[in-house]
Symmetry: none
């Protein structure tokens, strides 16, 4: 069973709006094991829309269209549906009531033009819209389903959740067939190194699929298992996950939508430890991420963004001579910053970072992208050198991610290497 | 002249990644007046990709493909290009050097598999990638252009900006027709209030178009003017911009891709002023944003993220009794934090924030979303109350934006009101 998603609207075509609708629908269809064969975006032009309807309906079992259902002249999806299915529009009085009540609820006068929202293709079943004036429509023909929904995300989502997905799932019960997905999140290792360490991939996968999705935060490994039933698929996933973890487990910090700040937050809580942070080059990003986690105040005490040398000396007790001798971007200063912030805050752990993220600030010995990350607890105080690349903002992301990963490995006693 | 954008990757099809690449390319093509006829997403499957290449290349003058260029088994775009154009791969030694130097720069061992990145279709011109290992390719055939780029957004963007758009623009010059777009960025005012203050919109626009695009950072106003030539379109834009500024100019902090942190950074530099920040609820986000701007070290001295009361007292000299009397989230504490961070840092300005961003921490008198922002200079020390909403992360964004806007208005002498 496969589906195509069609998004209609010039806004999306010219990039003023990002197509989040297609992502949402794609994810929901995948969950009920309808394979998305293709996603397309077309503008508000009849001939193009009709052509897209044709090829989509020919090649798929399910077609879901969003957008182009407003009451104004530039919305033509409904007319295209009427032409494509060779039907006509008729007034649906239930929908007309829905439209009127929406205006009533908002205490607004209803412009006459909104009545056209209640005109629906004769052969369609209506999908009611409780959040807006454009109804959705559900057409079945030649054992295929053609669905049209409004483009406003929260209206579309509600209709997808309550009507569309349950409706499709009822008609298409996958028999002898189950697809399950698991995402493993790694960091601190390059995609190609990960690939090499996994060795013989096809042997490891035994027919399942593995995708590597790299970003500045690390590499996501997405495993997809397709089996005769759910149990088998889940077993297959677990088996492969185990194998992957046995080879590169130390680099895996979480699964699915976990964030590294949540993971280290949980570890700190479990161990009853507190932390303070001293940041230079990342400018507060590490602290920002740690405090994105609700409840972080139980383990996060403070952060000092010591952008100037004076701040490093005054608040963090970094030795002026050390800065003079080694420079502010050095292993020694990173160590002193971590020690300093821990000691002035009275926390169990001090985490620090200092570096040159560009575009300026580089010297002959110290290129853009050079970063030192320090970490101290009661008994140990250490720092590590990193070399990132040219882009300031990406470097910030990479450096903050590396610092949080250093913290995670510290908490778990995993050495940091690649 | 028209173009199609093809995005390749299962992760986008199944909604694990949102298709921001197509939006970016769509926007850039629109700027040089290449009409985007269609955007499609297809998975990592050869037959589907080849079919999409065929229909796209038949129906358009320009085809831009992103994704599927990684070194691992699931990346097949390059093989599809070779098949589609009936050519073959050959080693490009310039690219091989690029790939090697990327690993060298990062101080990492290069896995053998990465050498395949330097294999490019024989008939293609290479678009070099300074940020990653996958080169882009530019193929011209039958007076049409077929471009392939990596899917990693920052790599793709740089290649679009420096090679692809200039290259296409040189080949295709539009006649008797010019569309120009201008975006005005406002903050601290609701969409509906903005709309009301603008009065009679159609009179104001004289045939141009205006869209309101709200987010947690403010409302973007997008003006689109379509005229016979570029000068006329630009004049129309300037005219409308002037009218809008005369009505709601105080809320407009920038245009196009300006960020509020860049705007305040420029103002601080111009005035030769320095700043220090004391954050509680935003956890370092304000400081992170200020330091996103290259060169911010000339005006940004330090930030203290005083998440605990102890940090407020110890580093910022906030009076313990004030905290006991009014609570850490209060006008008085915000003022003392701003004064404290200014005085310990010796800067011209101190900016502070304290609040309850949720989900926990609320009391009967102090609901989630309550925030106080303080600002002090040599002669004045003031604070202002804000009430945001429920969502922790959105609240962080809103609160940091409000603090930077307070700073902007302070620097420009514009009172903060709505």
């Amino acid at each position: 069973m496969q589906a195509q998603i069609i998004t209609i609207g010039d806004e999306i075509l010219i990039g003023q709006t990002i197509n989040t609708n297609a992502a949402y629908i794609g994810e929901e269809l995948t969950k009920i094991q309808i394979a998305v064969s293709k996603t397309t975006v077309v503008g508000d032009e009849e001939s193009v829309i009709l052509q897209e309807f044709k090829s989509a309906f020919e090649n798929n079992d399910v077609v879901i269209v969003t957008g182009g259902l407003g009451p104004t002249h530039d919305d033509i999806t409904k007319d295209c549906i009427v032409k494509f299915f060779n039907t006509e529009l008729e007034m649906n009085y239930e929908v007309l009531e829905d439209v009127r009540s929406i205006f009533q609820r908002r205490g607004r006068q209803m412009a006459k033009i909104n009545e056209t929202q209640a005109l629906v293709p004769k052969i369609a079943r209506v999908i009611r819209n409780t959040r807006g004036t454009a109804p959705g429509t559900w057409i079945e023909k030649d054992k295929k389903i053609f669905i049209s929904l409004p483009g406003v995300p929260h209206e579309m989502k509600e209709m997808i959740d309550t009507e569309v997905i349950p409706g499709i799932a009822k008609l298409y019960k996958p028999e002898n067939h189950s697809i399950k997905i698991r995402n493993l999140l790694s960091t601190g290792i390059a995609e190609s190194t990960l690939f090499e360490r996994l060795g013989n991939i096809s042997e490891l996968l035994e027919g399942a699929k593995l995708a590597f999705l790299p970003s500045q935060f690390g590499v996501k490994m997405r495993i997809t298992a397709e089996e005769k039933n759910e149990d088998l698929a889940l077993n297959k996933l677990s088996e492969i996950e185990q194998k992957i973890r046995s080879l590169v487990g130390r680099y895996i910090y979480g699964i699915e939508n976990d964030t590294l700040e949540e993971v280290v937050g949980r570890l700190l809580l479990e161990r009853g430890l507190t932390i303070a942070v001293a940041e230079s080059c990342t400018g507060g990003l590490i602290s920002h991420r740690i405090t994105n986690v609700a409840g972080s105040s139980s383990y996060f005490e403070r952060c000092v963004v010591s952008y100037s040398n004076a701040a490093k000396v005054e608040i963090l007790n970094v030795n002026e001579n050390t800065i003079a001798q080694y420079g502010a971007v050095s292993l020694e200063v990173a160590r002193q910053m971590a020690e300093g912030v821990k000691s002035v805050s009275g926390t169990d752990i001090g985490l620090s970072i200092t570096g040159i993220l560009g575009p300026g600030g580089a010297t002959r010995e110290k290129p853009v992208g050079l970063v030192y990350i320090g970490i101290c607890n009661e008994t140990l105080c250490t720092a590590k050198k990193f070399q990132f690349s040219e882009d300031r903002l990406l470097n910030k992301d990479r450096a903050a991610q590396a610092a949080l990963e250093i913290l995670r490995r510290h908490l778990l006693g995993i050495p940091y290497d690649e």
